[in-house]
């Protein structure tokens, strides 16, 4: 059977499976819709969080990104995992004890203010919307690349699937579908990584092969010989200061992302919330420690197979000619010396490959059976769909629960709230789909925006709400607004060539830190402004101080859940 047939069969089977799970987990009440009735076991919530977390982009592009950045790729590896430590130690257990539905819920109640609630809801919708725009695009691309349907059709199929289990099952349907999606995506990733690891190094465990075989050192040697940047040496692509700031911004941002935080409302107890963060990170780290190994293997293999070969020799390799056709791999003997040479200069470089090729071409390079290619396609789709579903729920709950129910219509009954919940998630899917087909110019800036804004606005407000009993409404609102506006303005100024169309960036960096790391300054400003303003204004009311004391101890989490 051909690769296309296998892909079609495997994708169809996995989709039918998700639809079945979504149907089985349909819900009738808001507690089920927003927080899956708080009945999700710690380990299942961990797998769902991991699927929620790992997007289509991180499944397809992350290993490629690391292959290009070498050592400095660590900003993403450490940044996107270290945030879970902050989440587990500083936020998750207390938010679970508090026991409501959303992030704006906590901020609105803790700071006894509907203004704070509305600001948090706007931040949630904005962060999630930026993020989801890239996800629907990824769904379309995977469909079009593996199944030869056009991107529009791909996005529509993806939207229909997500709509089915999200509208019907809310958080419960999404959670159990994500557990299935994690299984598919990790299997696809590991099968290919293990195969190429065994083929190139003789050691089937990618993490061990990276550390104990000499393949990383050989890759470093090839790069040095070619005059490329050293693979194993730090700070070749970002300055030390930027590596520090980007890593920290991604960590704090991760801990402040609403769609990740609300996952910890779904477990039965505070102890489960702590443990669940551990499971989530374990499941994420299985992929994140494999990715740098895959990066080294694939890059070594491409350079070793192509560099110094004649064009004819290179084209006789089967995977080379098939990837050349997609345009993701370009080889051209520009200086006419008969052999291909990779250089660091765009004008003379004769081997150009897209970073997505690192993961996508691995099954063919390692000569795996055609069904593995189908599994990789299903894995990429699982990653993109699960992340999109989680983001859509975070977005619609911020609107339907916090804005509609808590601010506009506190007298709405259960049935009306369910109707609004379902319809906002449906509208959110349509908006996301629109962005998938007509991607806005800022898709490349998503990382800077989503993480920078989460780091500078939501994280400090939640953290201070738990750890600083004296923090009050005035301090928190002033802090959130300062952090949000500062970070937004800085990112726009630093990335003005892309966002405003200026010829030169209006601001090259802020005190030596680029757009991806500037959220750290935003967070620091937020902390300073919050603390200063809160100490100059009246302390929070007595009952709020009692509420803070109450969320600090686990006992009684079950009752709080009853709402």
């Amino acid at each position: 059977m051909s690769t296309e047939t296998w892909t079609l069969i495997i994708v169809a089977i996995t989709f039918a499976f998700y639809l079945y799970i979504g149907y089985m987990n349909r819900v009738r009440e808001t507690a089920g819709f927003y927080v899956a009735g708080r009945g999700v076991p710690a380990i299942a919530n961990g797998a769902a969080t991991a699927a929620d977390w790992m997007s289509g982009a991180s499944f397809v592009s992350m290993a490629g990104l690391i292959a290009f950045l070498g050592y400095d790729g660590a900003v993403y590896l450490m940044g996107w995992t270290g945030g879970y430590v902050l989440l587990a130690l500083l936020l998750a257990p207390y938010l679970r004890k508090y026991g409501k539905y959303t992030v704006p819920d906590f901020i609105g109640d803790r700071y006894y203010s509907n203004t704070a609630r509305a600001v948090a809801a706007i931040a949630t919708v904005f962060i999630s919307l930026t993020y989801v725009a890239g996800q629907m695009r990824a769904v379309g691309i995977v469909f079009s690349r593996f199944l030869q349907v056009d991107i529009l059709m791909g996005v529509i199929i993806g939207m229909a699937i997500v709509a089915f289990f999200a509208v019907l099952g809310g958080m419960k349907g999404i959670t159990w579908t994500q557990v299935a999606q994690y299984t598919i995506l990790i299997l696809a990733y590991l099968i290919t990584a293990v195969a190429i690891s065994a083929k190139l190094t003789g050691n089937p465990v990618p993490q061990l092969a990276l550390t104990f075989s000499d393949i990383a050192v050989r890759l470093n040697q090839i790069q040095t010989d070619l005059g490329l940047k050293e693979y194993l040496a730090p700070f070749q692509h970002f300055s030390q200061l930027n590596v520090l700031f980007i890593t920290l911004a991604l960590m704090i941002g991760t801990a402040g992302l609403p769609h990740v935080i609300i996952r910890f409302y779904t477990v039965p107890s505070v102890a489960d919330a702590r443990k669940s963060a551990g499971w989530a990170l374990l499941f994420i780290v299985i992929l994140y420690t494999t990715a740098p190994a895959l990066a080294v293997f694939a890059k070594y293999n491409i350079l070793n197979s192509l560099n110094g070969k004649t064009v004819e020799d290179a084209q006789s390799i089967e995977w080379v000619s098939s990837w050349q056709k997609t345009g993701l791999l370009k080889i051209e003997d520009k200086n006419g010396d008969g052999v291909l040479t990779m250089t660091s200069d765009k004008a003379t470089n004769e081997i150009v490959f897209d970073r997505d090729i690192i993961v996508l071409s691995t099954p063919e390079v390692a000569q795996l059976a055609p069904w593995v290619v189908g599994l990789v396609a299903a894995g990429g789709l699982a990653a993109a769909l699960s992340t999109a579903a989680g983001l859509l729920l975070a977005m619609s709950s911020a609107f339907s629960h916090d804005v509609y129910y808590r601010i506009m219509r506190p007298d709405a009954d259960e049935r009306q709230r369910m109707i609004v919940g379902r319809s906002t998630i449906f509208v959110a899917i349509l908006i996301a789909g629109y962005f998938g087909v007509h991607p806005p110019g800022f898709v490349g800036e998503v990382v800077a925006f989503a993480f920078g804004l989460a780091a500078a606005s939501l994280f400090p407000a939640i953290f201070l709400g738990i750890f600083d009993k004296r923090m009050n409404r005035e301090g928190a609102i002033a802090g959130i607004l300062t952090g949000l506006i500062f970070t937004l303005v800085m990112i726009i100024l630093i990335r003005s060539t892309r966002l405003l169309g200026t010829a030169e960036p209006i601001l090259p960096s802020f005190l030596g830190v680029n757009a991806q790391g500037v959220g750290v300054y935003g967070a620091i400003l937020n902390f300073i402004v919050s603390l200063v303003v809160s100490r100059m204004t009246a302390p929070p009311p007595e009952e709020i101080q009692h509420m803070v004391e109450d969320i600090r101890v686990p006992r009684g989490a079950g009752q709080a859940a009853a709402h």
Partner: protein, 93 residues
């Protein structure tokens, strides 16, 4: 009442101390070993690769997972010691 509040404060202090210790380790393996001391640690090896590279792309992440499970385990013990654990919760680790 006062005694109960004292106990709650002692529990919170013990929790903060544990968080502080674990976050120092969190910072050492990431910001320390992989960024601030990346250049000096490049001279040492783990297996075949430089120690700083290993921490940057493997070791820090593995440590993060261990830190969370250690926190969950120690906090379960602390909850029981101060009698603030959740009702009907069986001892798990």
């Amino acid at each position: 009442m006062d005694k109960k509040q004292d106990r709650a404060q002692a529990y919170w202090k013990a929790n903060i101390r544990l968080i502080a210790i674990l976050l120092v380790i969190w910072a050492l393996v990431s910001f320390g070993a992989a960024i601030l001391f990346a250049v000096p640690l490049s001279g040492l090896n783990v297996g075949q690769i430089p120690m700083s590279f290993w921490f940057a792309q493997q070791g820090s992440m593995i440590t993060f997972v261990i830190l969370i499970f250690v926190y969950a385990w120690l906090m379960n013990r602390l909850d029981r010691e101060y009698d603030v654990h959740e009702e009907g919760e069986e001892e798990t680790s």
